[in-house]
């Protein structure tokens, strides 16, 4: 059997430039985790349903398990870890998640944070709780019942956090 085709891929991940020659078949999720060593996007289903691998690709929301790294060569990727302040402390949206106990097991949390970040960034006018809930429908959480997550986003919004 022949070796899988390889490719030179360069991505900017949370502001850090990562270049590597890797299998061309790697999903962005595997590339981030196995090549770049960025493990906060999680494998939860591999079919774009659970949202645990949600990242921003040049600012656009995407399931990293459904995209090949090769497709987005040169792009800038943001994960939940990229929402932290430069000194590693929690960003404003993350602090709101913390204050509201919006993580239990925490496995869905990085994906939800990225989704919530994009939601607040793109919001025009004040979002209702139901609008927040609708916007989170692509990110499953099995622990919290979603309520503290909605609370955290609503509270962050009322404090003027824009992503």
């Amino acid at each position: 059997m022949s070796e899988p085709m390889t490719m030179d891929i360069t991505l900017t991940v949370n502001g850090r430039r990562v270049a590597a020659t890797t299998g061309a078949h790697l999903s962005l999720l595997r590339w981030l985790r196995e090549v770049a060593g960025v493990t906060d996007p999680k494998y939860g289903c591999g079919e774009g349903v659970c949202g645990a691998c949600t990242v921003l690709i040049d600012g656009e929301l995407a399931s990293a398990c459904l995209v090949l790294a090769a497709q987005v060569d040169g792009a800038s990727i943001t994960t939940a870890a990229g929402l932290c302040e430069p000194d590693g402390s929690l960003g404003a949206l993350q602090r709101s998640f913390h204050e509201h106990h919006a993580a239990q097991c925490g496995f869905c949390t990085p994906g939800l944070l990225v989704c919530a970040h994009a939601l607040l960034r793109d919001a025009r006018g004040r979002l209702s709780r139901q609008e927040i809930r609708e916007a989170l429908h692509g990110n499953l959480c099995r622990c919290t019942g979603y309520q503290p997550i909605v609370d955290a986003i609503e509270d962050a919004q009322s404090r003027g956090v824009q992503g």
Binding site: M1, P4, G23, H25, R30, R33, G37, T39, D40, K42, Y43, G44, C45, G46, E47, V49, C50, A52, T79, A80, A81, C84, G88, L90, Q94, F97, H98, E99, H101, A102, A103, Q104, C105, G106, F107, C108, T109, P110, L113, R129, Q130, I132, R133, E134, L136, H137, G138, N139, L140, C141, R142, C143, T144, G145, Y146, Q147, P148, I149, V150
Partner: protein, 768 residues
């Protein structure tokens, strides 16, 4: 009051009972937590299972030669390669005396497969990519055998045998009083049959882990598990001394009972032992849905007799559970269903017969609620049916029959703590106010309540215990060591709160090391709503003993009477002087006083039960609650929308109120999933829902806010009077939703989930 019962006064609490944000949450939110699947080790290999593609058959041939020849494949194992090819499912090290409940299955099947997804071969390779190709090269030839997919059919005469010992896996009975006479004399008798479905835990973290051989030759597994004590099972399979195997549980990405039985552990261990290299195994979501045990589906038949004033006279209950292909914990799940079958009510005459049958369906085992959940649909539907027949208020019928302290359950156990069931009923109703109006002309609104009770702590005859170590560092900071796995409920953090409370330390100066079978004292499983009770009490005892040491040493040094001393942040204070903690610790060292303590908490004891359950204490204690739901039903589409949901539980004392609310809202939404959406569909043993595209779970958009009402009787058998809250909130949703729908459309749906199709059929039956 019974000396097991603990209490606390709010004005004496400093750290406990505060809604503190957890440090583990901060790390999870920062994205820095390393879960079981996130660890990478140098020269790490990867392992994957080859699984049966048919639900029942005889293995005729297995050929691994082509897979072995593929470059990059390091090893391929079959059952014959395993020193002891048997997984024994019992409670590790603790159920020697209940031999009949011991369950067994092969690690890798050698001659017979009994369910779709059963492991047959283990492939180890140097990359994930090679692994996928190698698994497809393992040739397995199976002669298909008849499939038994229905538990009633499995117990019928002449059914194909799933196991040679017969298809009846377990049976329990309770026989108390004279049910037949009570049924004959009662003012009303209501009957009903209720069905629940197979449900998956569907935590976001699929099963994963990494193993390696550490110093001193210790086989070490860092895996997503609720039970580090599985190191014993791994040792038995490999033929190693238990002391040579170590299991570490990092923060787990959700458990709910699904990581109570072993998942990846034996396979990683075998691969490491054979290759002598680090090995990672990550199950796909497909594997998780196919092959890891599910919640039992059950059929429950109830006949309930009551007097004209609504007092319960008798319950006659039959339960049939589908245990799937292997026993796992089915006998115990069925026992829980039996003990909880009559609900939180006083019933003088009781006849219960429950059975679990083997089928060729996916195995069923532990799942939050553990058999105590399914029966809520049965007993609460009966209570509403009774209220309707008698023209009584559903809340009044429940209150009239509510258990109180000193009552005995049908199984014979006496309740030793206060029961605030009526208060939970009042609480949800007061908060709810009047029933809302429908939002449109072809829509109807319904409201219902459902109460439940759920044990916390393990079966008393399992001789449960938990240990914890608490010690001061030289600077007065505090270290807690406890073998508890933290599966997301704040298990470790709560222990820090308890130690900080007792020892007067600031919480920021406490570190809890947890979940390591080698380096933290064994604390037992994070299951059965037991960790706050067991580990919480162990930490409390260790901290209390340590506090006594310190105060005695200071009393001896200063001459102040020991009763006059208090431990506060940073110092011991007494009438003559305030001694800084560093000096206290120096006094201890000079006086040979230990500044650390090991606490072991032993759970309540009881005799092993026989098949006929009678007159015995079964559990440490119970948590009671009531939920209220308002639903709107669309008469044209059958769609059910939950408008409002209120859930009240008496938790005794909330150690961390935000963690309590999190357990309630999370448990309710998981229960709403079973009530409205979820079903693992199995046809003729073939799993038709092996992906999240097909297995529907609640999203944020599907559920309303869950209004948690936390009542505190101040009394329980946990530390500071806490009761367990992990499992209790998941039960009522599966009853309150069909009951609220019944209030809206006038017909009760008795099979879950309450899908639009079932709602439309129910509406049609009303017209007919």
């Amino acid at each position: 009051m019974n000396d097991e019962v603990r209490t606390s006064k709010l004005d004496e609490l400093r750290v406990v009972h505060r809604p503190l944000a957890r440090h583990d949450q901060a790390e999870k939110i920062a994205g820095t937590t390393r879960y079981a699947g996130d660890l990478v080790l140098p020269h790490m290999l990867h392992a994957r299972l080859v699984r049966a593609q048919v639900p029942s058959g005889r293995i005729l041939r297995r050929d691994v030669s082509a897979a072995r020849e593929l470059p990059g494949v390091v090893d391929v194992l079959l059952g014959e390669d395993i020193p002891n090819n048997e997984i024994r499912v019992d409670v590790p090290g603790q159920t020697i005396e209940v031999q009949p409940l011991r369950a067994s299955m092969q690690v890798l099947a050698t001659d017979r497969v009994r369910f779709h997804g059963e492991p047959i071969a283990l492939v180890v390779a140097d990359s994930e990519d090679v692994l996928a190709r190698a698994c497809s090269l393992v040739e397995v030839e199976i002669e298909e055998l008849p499939v038994v997919s229905d538990p009633a059919a499995a117990l019928a005469e002449g059914a194909p045998l799933v196991h040679e010992t017969g298809n009846l896996l377990a049976e329990w009975t309770i026989d108390r009083g004279d049910v037949d006479a009570a049924l004959a004399e009662a003012a009303v008798v209501v009957e009903g049959e209720y069905r629940t479905q197979f449900v998956d835990h569907a935590y976001l973290e699929p099963e994963a882990g990494v193993g390696w051989i550490d110093d001193d030759g210790v086989l070490t597994l860092r895996v997503a598990t609720q039970v580090v004590e599985h190191y014993r099972d791994v040792a038995r399979i490999l033929g190693l001394p238990e002391a040579k195997v170590r299991v570490i549980a990092p923060y787990v990405g959700g458990g709910f009972g699904g990581k109570e039985d072993m998942t990846v552990e034996p396979y990683i261990a075998l691969a490491v032992w054979r290759t002598r290299r680090p090995v990672r195994m990550q199950w796909t979501r497909n594997e998780s849905l196919l092959a890891r045990p599910k919640r039992h589906r059950m059929t429950m038949r109830y006949r309930t007799a009551a007097a004209a004033d609504g007092s319960l006279l008798a319950q006659d209950v039959e339960i049939l559970a589908d245990a799937g292909a292997y026993a796992y914990l089915s006998a115990l799940v069925l026992l829980y269903a039996t003990v909880h079958a009559c609900g939180p009510y006083r019933v003088p005459n009781v006849k219960i017969r429950s059975r679990a049958a083997y089928t060729n369906n996916p195995p069923a085992s532990a799942f939050r609620g553990f058999g105590g959940m399914q029966v809520v649909l049965g007993y609460e539907s009966q209570m509403d049916a009774l209220a309707r027949r008698l023209g009584m208020d559903p809340g009044e019928v429940r209150k009239r029959n509510a258990l109180v302290r000193g009552d005995r359950l049908p199984v014979g156990q006496e309740l030793i703590t206060e029961v605030q069931l009526p208060q939970t009923i009042d609480a949800v109703r007061e908060r709810a106010g009047p029933k809302p109006q429908p939002s449109g002309p072809r829509r109807v609104v319904g409201r219902a309540i459902a109460s439940n009770f759920q044990s916390y702590g393990r079966l008393v005859w399992l001789n449960d215990s938990a240990a914890a170590w608490v010690g001061f560092q030289a600077d007065g900071s505090l270290t807690v060591r406890c073998g508890v796995p933290d599966i997301g409920g704040g298990q470790a953090f709560s222990l820090g709160q308890i130690a900080a409370e007792v020892l007067g330390v600031e919480l920021e100066r406490v570190t809890v090391h947890f979940g390591d079978s080698a380096l933290t004292p064994l604390a037992g499983t994070t299951t059965a709503t037991r960790q706050l009770l067991m580990s919480g009490n162990a930490v409390y005892e260790a901290a209390t003993a340590l506090r006594a040491n310190l105060l005695a040493a200071v009393a001896a040094a200063t001459g102040d009477p020991v009763e006059s001393l208090t431990l506060e942040p940073g110092a011991v204070s007494g009438p003559t002087r305030r001694v800084p903690i560093e000096e206290v610790l120096a006094i201890c060292r000079r006086g040979n006083v230990p500044v650390e303590a090991l606490g072991t908490f032993f759970g309540p004891k009881g005799r092993p039960v026989t098949r006929e359950l009678a007159g015995e204490r079964i559990f440490p204690d119970f948590t009671f609650g009531t939920h209220l739901a308002d639903v709107e039903v669309d008469l044209d589409t059958g769609q059910v929308r939950v408008l409002r949901y209120i859930a009240a539980h008496d938790v005794g004392r909330a150690i961390n109120p935000k963690s309590v609310e999190g357990q309630i809202s999370g448990g309710v939404v998981q229960g709403l999933g079973q009530a409205l959406l979820e079903e693992l569909v199995v046809r003729d043993g073939v799993n038709l829902t092996p992906g999240l595209f097909r297995y529907l779970m609640p999203t944020a958009a599907d559920v309303p806010d869950i209004e948690a009402v936390v009542l505190e009787s101040g009394e329980g058998v946990g530390p500071f009077g806490a009761r367990g809250i992990g499992e209790p909130p998941i039960g009522p949703p599966i009853a309150v939703i069909p009951l609220a729908v019944a209030d809206a459309i006038g017909v009760q749906i008795t099979a879950l989930p309450v899908t639009p199709e079932r709602v439309l059929a129910a509406i049609a039956s009303r017209r007919g």
